[in-house]
Amino acid sequence: MAAVDDSLSAPNVSMKKSKLVLIGNGMAGVRTLEELLKIAPELYEITVFGAEPHPNYNRILLSPVLAGEQTLEQIVLNPLSWYAGHDIRLHLGKTVASVDRRRRRVTAADGTEADYDRLLIATGSRPLMLPVPGAELDGVIAYRDIADTQMMIDAAARYRHAVVIGGGLLGLEAANGLMLRGMQVTVVHLMPWLMERQLDDTAARLLQKSLEERGLKFIIGAQTQALIATPSGPRRVAAVRFQDGREIPADLVVMAAGIRPNTELAERIGLHCQRGISVNDTMQTITDPRIYAVGECAAHRGITYGVVAPLFEQGKVCATHLAQFGIGRYGGSHTSTQLKVTGIELFSAGNFSGGDGTEEIVLSDPIGGVYKKLVIKNDKLIGACLYGDTVDGSWYFKLLRDGRSVSDIRDKLMFGESNLGDAGHQGRSRAAAMQDGDEVCGCNGVTKGTICKAIKDKGLFTLDEVRRHTKASASCGSCTGLVEQLLMFSAGGDYSAAPKKKALCGCTDASHADVRQAIREHKLLSIDSVFANVGWRTPNGCASCRPAVNYYLVSTWPKEAADDPQSRFVNERSHANIQKDGSYSVVPRMWGGETTAAELRRIADVVDKYQIPTVKITGGQRIDLLGVKKQDLRAVWQDIGMPSGHAYAKALRTVKTCVGSQWCRFGTQDSTQMGKDLERALWRMYAPHKVKLAVSGCPRNCAEAGIKDVGIIGVDSGWEVHIAGNGGIKTEVAQFLVKLKTAAEVLEYSGAFLQLYREEGWYLERSVHYVGRVGLDHVKARIVDDAAGRKALWERLQFSLADEPDPWFDFDKAAVDTRQFDALGAAL
């Protein structure tokens, strides 16, 4: 890096504000400013130069404007009042002509000057104009900005024939819009099929057929030779001539043959450009660290992005660096594609054309208008191309991004997420067909109308933003596909692009895996040491990361790392479940679901004594006392005199059992005793998420062992162990792990699997998702095939659990702060 003077690392040493100049008043640049103003509103005096005479607008929505579905006013993102409200000096309609990097001064074509301490270049991209004779004629335009769109709208009102050169995303959207405005439109495409960079030939032909049915004409594989002018009058385009001599009439020609990063200014002022302006992971140009570049003009690790989500990700990173937080890093993005032509469902992501070493799964129904192709390599999904039914696009995209093994779901992969047991949106796949009042998110009761209104009113672009603002798709996530479709239709966002690595939370860029690894490798024993070692932006984290880090510490270094009750969610701090009215519920442990008259009597007495309003039998074969006041909790525990059921914790909950061979005439094994033994061996076990077990005494499976984290089923010759079942949001049948002979083996295998989950699972990841992520083969290799490893896991778990206190009775040892149960008094 070039020599950096002191003022660069600390631009605000003096009380005077530093100066930031933005060249390019578009979506990427202004989003960067928004992010910057959010975290450091007072740091800079900001000046913006924009070549267009408009405030920042949503360029993606030019297609719906052209199609007459939205107006220009509706797509403005930052009205002039926004700039004024943030004291931003805005120079509209002024193109920057030069930058003096030594004197740090920007000069516009009209002579306007602005000095900078830091400069942000977001000049976007330029359309490629084909260098054919006649390209300079009137009526020949590109499709890039409001002026082009307006010209197309005007032309549609006066002329008849339009020719769009380029059958890519932009060209098809332009053609569709012009057709809807009444023109006869022909799309000319040089390559053998439409959208060849986003679609394979089969999907492209379906798309072409569908567009032809709407009235578009196509000339495929034709090379444009010249644009022919009108014989007399003003020199306006009249026809397009191809290399084979054919001519077609054209009153309007739209060039949509591609875009290229606009690096003209950057190159002129000596910034290194390769494809785009070369930037590092903090979005600084590699030539001049005072100058940043974001958006379509920037090349990060040699890649330029042309869709909105990566650009916003870049903007966020750039803003943290401008704000001197400086630890944000951009690591590149995966992107996916959707066509914004109402009524046409199309999605593609990754490598969908296959190649060496890849396998394809294809579903083709040309009459029904559905085509899906999934490309798999080394048991991982690497590409997807969907036409006609795209509701699972986001799910495939997630699989692709996560790089998760799909071997276990391969047979169901093509049929989508709903076939894996996801519920919540009643199998609805087309958001466009839903009414405003229809519920999209069943968890949080959010309707289509609410989501669309929030997207429009608040200018939301990404799934995360919709989740934060409306809570839609924020709980179980099964409606994610629908929400993403709504985003696309309302905001035009390529919503699903996302950073390659998912950060644990907003306080850090580190992932769950990074944090775990650091704790293990550096033997970190406290939350503060993790925050210092891994790099946290916030002094004491947030409500998302602290519980996760606390769990990783105590599970990695049992008996050594300090448990921090203030970093646990209230339920684990109070050892009771908080209810909607602020009262608590108490669930005593009943080993294997068995109880006695004495226990029931004590419970009944407690209910009377503390006037507990509701007594409920739980699904886990225990009794739940609901509506206990916080100040009564200690006395209730004491009077009941039964161990904590940990019904409030990310820990072992219940071991549900059937009565088994002791009473049942069908029972083959003593499932109740097995259940009690398991529960006594595993209780007080904290885990990434709650853990439920069940033991059935015969394959009739009355204990419902098929939907538990560990389900044991007795058969005549022994026990079957099933793992990673789930009866919650995503009903998942447990997978068979192993068949065993003795009860001791059942304890060892079950314990070893749970310890593996404790060591490798991410906080709040249920065992079903953990096994889905690492694959059943991995679990089998560690638990079934590796006897020494299994014994070591089982021993580590026993070591962790030995002498662990019961938090309802041993307050000191369990680090229960008993002050929480008493209110302070105020002498009034």
Binding site: K458, R468, H469, T538, P539, N540, G541, C542, A543, R546, P547, P565, Q566, S567, R568, F569, V570, R573, S574, I578, K580, D581, G582, D817, R819, Q820, A823, L824, G825, A826, A827, L828
Partner: protein, 111 residues
């Protein structure tokens, strides 16, 4: 202002809170940040009335235990994009002793 002593700062856990009972009126939550600032808010989230005193404290914020709204301890304001505000009480911290205003306790947010 008419200050009334509530407790010592060490009676409140760091990054934690205590409840202050008010006869016949909703409780007040006292919060202590990592750097030993003390804040007082009505113990009620503006969203659905959750007890803020039971939330996780970080920086100068608390996450409500019911639906994870984040409330700023110094203003009582919900953080964007959520909207709402809970009543704030004045706190005086002198030599490690925490005082609240008796007038505010007796008059503010009684229902």
């Amino acid at each position: 202002m008419n200050w009334t002593r509530i407790c010592r700062i060490d009676d409140i856990p760091r990054l934690g809170s205590r409840r202050v009972a008010r006869p016949g009126a909703p409780e007040v939550a006292l919060f202590r940040s990592a750097d030993d600032q003390v804040f007082a808010l009505l113990d009620r989230c503006p969203h659905q009335g959750g007890p803020l005193s039971q939330g996780i404290v970080f920086g100068t914020r608390v996450a409500c235990p019911l639906h994870n709204w984040t409330i700023a301890l110094d203003s009582g304001q919900a953080l964007e994009p959520d909207q709402g505000c809970t009543a704030r009480f004045s706190v005086s911290l002198i030599d490690g002793e925490v005082f609240l205003s008796a007038d505010e306790l007796a008059s503010r947010a009684l229902a």
